[in-house]
Symmetry: C2
Subunit: 332 residues, 2 copies
């Protein structure tokens, strides 16, 4: 099967209605998008490499989902509404079954967010998936990393650490197997779900973007809560205090030794939850917004004038923790 | 050196003024672009894989140039003005010298087109470069592949075939070496230049986009003149006749045997010239536009009602030629 036929069969979807903002989709030199009058365009790109971001042999349907999810999550963190995305795909071979499943996972999520595939590129090469997503938002509505203010509340959507725990179980980490047993992934299917099919928080992000008078900074958690919070603190020249007792802890994580539980909660990675700051006056509005979009949101701490990140226990004593983000060019 | 430090050092350029349309660049969850009022966004993405699109060990500065050039060329073919681009880069290792040269080639071209790098992603993996470029244009100004009309003139910018000849010489093709000698690449530096540093025709494309009353379809030549013209013919449900005697032939190509010269001219690939159609009434305007932007443009044939592509010699006799585009999932 040729490249053009492969694209046509799996990625051109005759009969699927496209949003009005998509003026022209796949098949020309460029796609054409018509943003709403006066709006800005938000753009983000992520590249997923086999063996680095996902295991060889991972379920292609889950991979299609995740490749788009991590990009939608960036739009959510900015408060932008999805307009469309491009997909560039390097494949070792044109495997029909693999492509069919990948496209299924990809389009199920794309359709749920009214975010059409507008263009792309396919080539032969080591498996590599590069998605660029575009969204729109009103000028001034972006939740930038540098906008946190001392005195802000610190909020987290959902909960952290399950994706990391699933990763450790798949890798066969002794401590994870000892705590949860060899059949942990079978008994806790939600762990693998969190790793392989993260839920981008675009409903929440879009609503928070409307509250930008009171909601200040936001980031999506890809490299771990502490590490990603560090980006907000650095960009905003502030510090933060996290109240450990307030952090939601998934059932499976409650069975871990404390050190590993902390590592998963605070430096887990692959969470794709939103971390954001807001003036205390916005508490009721944020509760209402969380309710409206059905996404749990927890106030986990506050932004401080004093720089650095402190994690404190229920009695206010500092908890020692080595904050570390995931860096693709350091470590193993 | 860590990932963030690597990005900062080579891809964040303090002190380089950005166009006003770039509201926010590298360093947040998304970049923000402000298109001109009422304009549409044109988007295109291309993925370049080592060993497939370029030789291992190719000059990284040329590679940085080419990776962006092939994307800018898609904007040119649509008649869109560049707004900015994202870069996703998988690298086997963080090689300072390589990155420095790659960034130099990339930014030299980006600056020449006022097309800033607005965001990106870096990861470890087999060398892979994925660029997504965004541009803007007025509604109705896009030169779409399906807009060619019977009776249109067919135009080509620059000339075709030199990139292909350079590729064959680098591969050591017998016929190329026999015709041009073993030192051909040294004696014809323009050949390698055309392969490794193609010139995207954005000046011309932008001006043609303004003439869309008379300029109809356009495409940029990446897979060979005949193959890419085929996309216009199919999308427009028309045919075409190319007058072989009108095709500009580079000096090095004049020394090739006829069959190989035709192969290079008509199915060369990697030309990144514009092929476009326009009503005959536009001839003077097109000459003026070509002059204004300093890009040679040649009328090489015409669009016909009868389907299919015919290539004819100076006396109007059909020339037999097997049109074939380059397909990443067929052949070697």
């Amino acid at each position: 099967m040729g490249e053009f036929e492969l694209i046509r069969r799996h990625f051109q979807r005759a009969g699927v209605p496209a949003p009005a903002s998509m003026v022209l989709g796949i098949g020309d030199d460029c796609a054409l998008l018509q943003p709403s009058p006066g709006h800005q365009i938000a753009v983000s790109t992520d590249m997923l490499v086999e063996g680095r971001h996902f295991f060889p042999g991972v379920d292609p349907e889950a991979l299609g989902h995740k490749a788009l999810a991590v990009n939608l999550s960036d739009l959510a963190a900015m408060g932008a509404r999805p307009l469309g995305f491009t997909l560039a795909l390097a494949l070792p071979e044109a495997d029909e079954a693999w492509l069919g499943a990948f496209a299924r996972g990809l389009f199920a999520l794309a359709d749920a967010h009214a975010c059409p595939l507008v263009g792309g590129d396919t080539t032969r090469g080591p498996l590599n998936i590069c998605i660029t997503v575009m969204g729109e938002l009103r000028p001034g509505q972006a939740m930038r990393r540098g906008a946190a203010q001392a005195g802000d509340d610190l909020y987290l959507s959902g909960r952290t650490g399950e994706a990391r725990l699933a990763l450790e179980l798949l890798r066969g980490a002794d401590w994870a197997l000892a705590a949860l047993g060899g059949d942990a992934l079978a008994r806790h299917p939600e762990l693998r779900q969190r790793l392989e099919r993260p839920t981008p928080r675009n409903g929440l992000g879009g609503l928070l973007g409307v509250l930008t008078g009171a909601v200040h900074a936001a980031i999506d958690l890809s490299d771990g809560l502490a590490g990603d919070l560090g980006h907000i603190l650095q960009a905003s020249a502030v510090g933060a205090e996290i109240a450990l007792a307030e952090l939601p802890v998934a059932p499976a994580l409650q069975r871990l030794p404390e050190a590993q539980r902390l590592e998963c909660l605070l430096a887990g990675g692959d969470d794709y939850e939103l971390l954001f700051t807001a003036a205390p006056i916005a508490r009721a509005a944020i509760d209402a917004v969380a309710q409206a979009c059905g996404t749990p949101v927890t106030r986990i701490g506050r932004i401080t004038q004093a720089p650095g990140l402190r994690v404190v226990d229920a009695s206010g004593r500092p908890v020692t923790f080595a904050a570390r983000g995931f860096d693709h060019f350091q470590g193993a």
